[in-house]
């Protein structure tokens, strides 16, 4: 009879039960808040008041919060803006990051050390808000969508991660391509990128989430509120949580009108902001784990 190492032994019933319990607890711990958020967004004010906060037991469901959110056309428009900025921004960011990372990963590139140094420098020193604003304004980007994309188009962290990944691709592979007559662009396109799907997907996700969540740049650089992306518009709702038109002077209030549930609206906002990431994530997740694991083994 062979003795198994401890990790290969069949778990005891108690052990399996405990493990199962723990995993269930963790899963519930993750899912329950999302459940509460979603449920609260669908609840009436009575249900929210009754619960004294986030609703856990369904009572009185209503779509009032979502109706209120999408009634004005402002939210719908901002969703389009956010989608556009996310798509264009991610495309630009990925392109620039891949090209820069590849260039910086080739030891022979012109000035690659000073350039890498400059990139790494931004880890240590970030310009303040006002210098940034001055730059954006002197480039004439104020009140343009480019102000949401260009200032943060390349993140040093992503660039460094990608460069490290490229450097791990064995020289033999690229050398053989070079012998076959491929130039650097071709090597990048046909050899390096296909081997780096994982890291590209992950970094693409980082960028996309960044653009989707971009808030402060929009507040700073966009004066025309028709150009606002989703996060800025949604935050305006969270700030007040109830239609300001009613709240502003009191005279305009209909005594019989029930205000939309403020907490419900806020939670509806969370749901709206969450959905796209929730949808995209499962597709990228495969690469996400793979990318991380490959990196780990290669060391």
């Amino acid at each position: 009879m062979t003795t198994l190492p401890p990790w290969a032994e069949r778990p005891s019933r108690v052990g399996a039960l405990l493990k199962g319990l723990l995993l269930t607890l963790i899963t519930v711990g993750v899912l329950f808040p999302i459940y509460m958020v979603a449920l609260t967004s669908l609840s009436t004010q009575e249900a929210v008041t009754e619960a004294g906060g986030l609703v856990t037991v369904p009572s009185g469901l209503s779509f009032a919060a979502y109706q209120e959110l999408f009634a004005g056309g402002v939210v719908t428009r901002s969703v389009l803006v956010s989608l556009g900025v996310t798509l264009v921004g991610t495309a630009i960011s990925l392109t620039v990051t891949v090209l820069a990372a590849y260039g910086l990963s080739r030891p022979g590139s012109l000035l690659h050390r000073p350039m890498l140094f400059l990139v790494l420098l931004t880890f240590l020193f970030g310009p303040g808000m006002i210098p940034n604003y001055l730059l954006v304004s002197s480039l004439g980007l104020i009140d343009t969508y480019w102000s949401l994309i260009l200032p943060g188009a390349v993140t040093a962290f992503n660039l460094v991660v990608m460069r490290a990944f490229f450097m791990n691709i064995p020289d033999e592979v690229t050398d053989s391509a070079r012998i076959d007559g491929a130039n650097e662009f071709r090597i990048l396109r046909t050899i390096v990128l296909p081997m780096s799907k994982g890291v590209t997907a992950v970094i693409g996700l980082f960028y996309a989430v960044g653009y989707w969540n971009s808030f402060f740049n929009a507040v700073l650089y966009l004066n025309d509120n028709a150009k606002w992306p989703l996060q800025v518009v949604l935050r305006q709702y969270v700030l007040q949580g109830q239609s300001l038109i009613v709240g502003q002077s009191g005279v305009g209030t209909l005594p019989g009108q029930s205000l939309p549930p403020s907490l419900a609206i806020q939670m509806a906002i969370v749901v709206v902001a969450l959905l796209p990431v929730l949808f995209v994530y499962p597709f990228v997740q495969r690469h996400f784990t793979k990318g991380v694991i490959i990196g780990a083994i290669k060391g």
Partner: protein, 556 residues
């Protein structure tokens, strides 16, 4: 200085309704009363008087509940109240305000953004009435200061720029910036020169005094109400329960709390009340000047008495556990649900609650406890500074444009009861609102979508209590008038002071420590230690600064 929450409460724009409240708490000091802000050094009100426009009351509207005209330097008036909506609002201005110019205006907003000018019939209608195009650059009210600072630094100034006082407090070099960025309005508005702008002349002088920087009239002020807060209570439940809504001492308040609190019935007497207990224990609003020395409120013996009292209140569990346990409880929800019966809020919170609950529960009503002192003696009450928000005009515009902008601000200053006010607040009749019972405008779907509080921020107007609840208006104005004689006269009244930022920064951490005492997490004897830390960390420095202000103004 009026705090943001306090101020928004006044104009009924309370952002404090946000559940959690953490967002706000992170950005602003607690809405405790604060001394005047703005100027780098201090300037006494009497020296400012020559700069301000001559006050001329606008004869067009008269509140049916008169207020109190303030004779105290720097203290806002009680503007009075309206118990009904005017049957036929009349136009305040006979001529078009604008001359067809186009101006960009940056304003804060704490709420859902409206569609832009091109697709917003409300903006178009108001602009048509004004006779000029105002194009709003709306910015998230909570990060408004960040954007304002960036634009000021970059010299990227819109023609009209609104800056709330609590944001100005955070700007270290505003005194320099204000000269570089904004037009000096003294030549246009000083004394009788205000005559072409009768509605600006209708703004209280105290508010104008707060618009002076570097001895120049720099902005059009948004006046405030005198009181930062009151103890509000559920009048309907008090009437039903037969409780005493007029406690005369701290002990009576405590007894009342014990009578009301019944955790089994999910009913607690209090939300947070300690800020109102400060004046109740005659703790000075900030400093007390006695015997040639300045004593800070934390250092007074009264402050310790207050701590002991609040400790008793918490120990007896008279405060709702959600309020006592965390900072995040939404007290408006709790009082609305009848889970607490008494809490501290700005008077604007009163209206907000009525709006939320009168519809479903016609009996729902609130009141404010008459002022009382802890020992049954003469009470004191704190006051706001006279202006909460300022509207600036970009520097270097041609004279005609400055005049046109001032004419637009004059239009925006039209008070409750005028056609202009109605248009700016509700839009166009039968398009954005319909007239309901008692002639009160009722916003419809288009109104809800398009009308946003924007023109309202461009300068201010007398702050009448104009709620559609006559019973509450009456109680409110009576309470305000009754309290006016008790407004504390402080050593700095009427002096505009730039609050040292170190001193401001001390407030929250220090008061958090005092909260620990109130909640029984630290012994009362630690209060001395906390005061010592406060003095070490900047309190003494602030004392020297304030003493110098008194000396400079010949008051010490």
């Amino acid at each position: 200085m009026t705090s943001r929450r306090g101020f928004l409460g006044l104009v009924g724009l309370s952002a404090a309704a946000v559940a959690g409240g953490g967002l706000l708490a992170a950005c602003s000091a607690p809405s405790g009363p604060r001394p005047g802000g703005g100027g780098a050094t201090a300037a006494a009100a009497d020296k400012l008087t020559s700069l301000t426009p001559t006050y001329t009351a606008f004869p067009g509207v008269k509140p049916d509940l008169p207020g109190t005209v303030s004779t105290l330097p720097g203290v806002p008036d009680v503007s009075g109240g309206f118990t009904s909506y005017p049957a036929a609002p009349t136009a305040a201005l006979t001529q078009k305000a604008g001359k067809g110019g186009t101006y960009k205006a940056m304003t804060p907003l704490w709420g859902p953004p409206p569609p832009g000018l091109a697709s917003n019939s409300y903006f178009q209608a108001v602009n048509a009435d004004i006779g000029a195009t105002v194009e709003f650059q709306i910015t998230d009210g909570n990060v408004y200061g960040d954007k304002a600072i960036a634009r000021l630094a970059a010299g990227d100034i819109p023609e009209i720029m609104v800056i709330p006082s609590w944001e100005i407090d955070k700007m270290a070099d505003f005194n320099t910036a204000v000269d570089k960025a904004f037009e000096d309005l003294t030549p246009y508005l000083q004394g009788d020169k205000v005559a072409p702008y009768p509605l600006l002349a209708n703004l209280p002088t105290a508010a104008w005094q707060w618009s002076v920087w570097n001895n120049k009239l720099m902005a059009v002020p948004f006046p405030t109400e005198p009181y930062p807060f009151a103890l509000l209570y559920r009048k309907d439940l008090f009437d039903a329960g037969g409780w005493n809504a007029n406690p005369k001492t701290a002990d009576e308040l405590f007894q009342l709390g014990k009578e009301i609190t019944d955790p089994k019935a999910k009913r607690w007497a209090f939300g947070s009340i300690h800020e109102v207990m400060w004046p109740t224990f005659r703790i000075p609003q900030d400093w007390r000047y006695e015997g040639g020395k300045l004593v800070h409120k934390y250092e007074t013996p009264e402050f310790e008495l207050m701590l002991e009292f609040m400790r008793k209140v918490f120990a007896e569990e008279l405060v709702h556990p959600n309020v006592a346990g965390s900072k995040g409880a939404n007290e408006k929800d709790l009082i609305g649900a009848g889970q607490i019966l008494v809490y501290r809020d700005g008077l604007g919170g009163w209206k907000e609650l009525l709006q939320q609950h009168r519809g479903k529960n016609p009996d729902f009503s609130l009141g404010a406890f008459p002022l009382f002192a802890h020992d049954g003696g003469t009470p004191i009450m704190y006051h706001n500074t006279a202006a909460g928000i300022f509207t600036f005009v970009k520097k270097g515009l041609p004279k005609e444009q400055v005049e046109e902008i001032l004419a637009i601000l004059n239009w925006c200053a039209a008070p409750f009861g005028t056609k202009e006010y109605e248009l700016s607040n509700f839009g166009v009749e039968d398009k954005h609102f319909t007239r309901g019972a008692n002639g009160i405008p009722e916003t419809n779907d288009l109104g809800r979508k398009e009308v946003a509080y924007t023109y309202g921020f461009l300068g201010g107007r007398p702050l009448y209590v104009d709620w559609p609840y006559p019973d509450a208006v009456k109680l409110n104005v009576e309470w305000q008038n009754a309290g006016f004689p008790f407004i504390e006269k402080g050593p700095f009244d009427g002096i505009r002071i730039q609050r040292p930022s170190k001193y401001s920064g001390l407030q929250v951490p220090t008061e958090d420590k005092f909260t620990d005492i109130m909640r029984g997490r630290r012994p009362v004897s630690d209060a001395k230690q906390i005061v010592t830390e406060w003095r070490r960390d900047g309190g003494d420095e602030a004392r020297d600064f304030y003493l110098k202000v008194l000396r400079d103004n010949g008051r010490a």
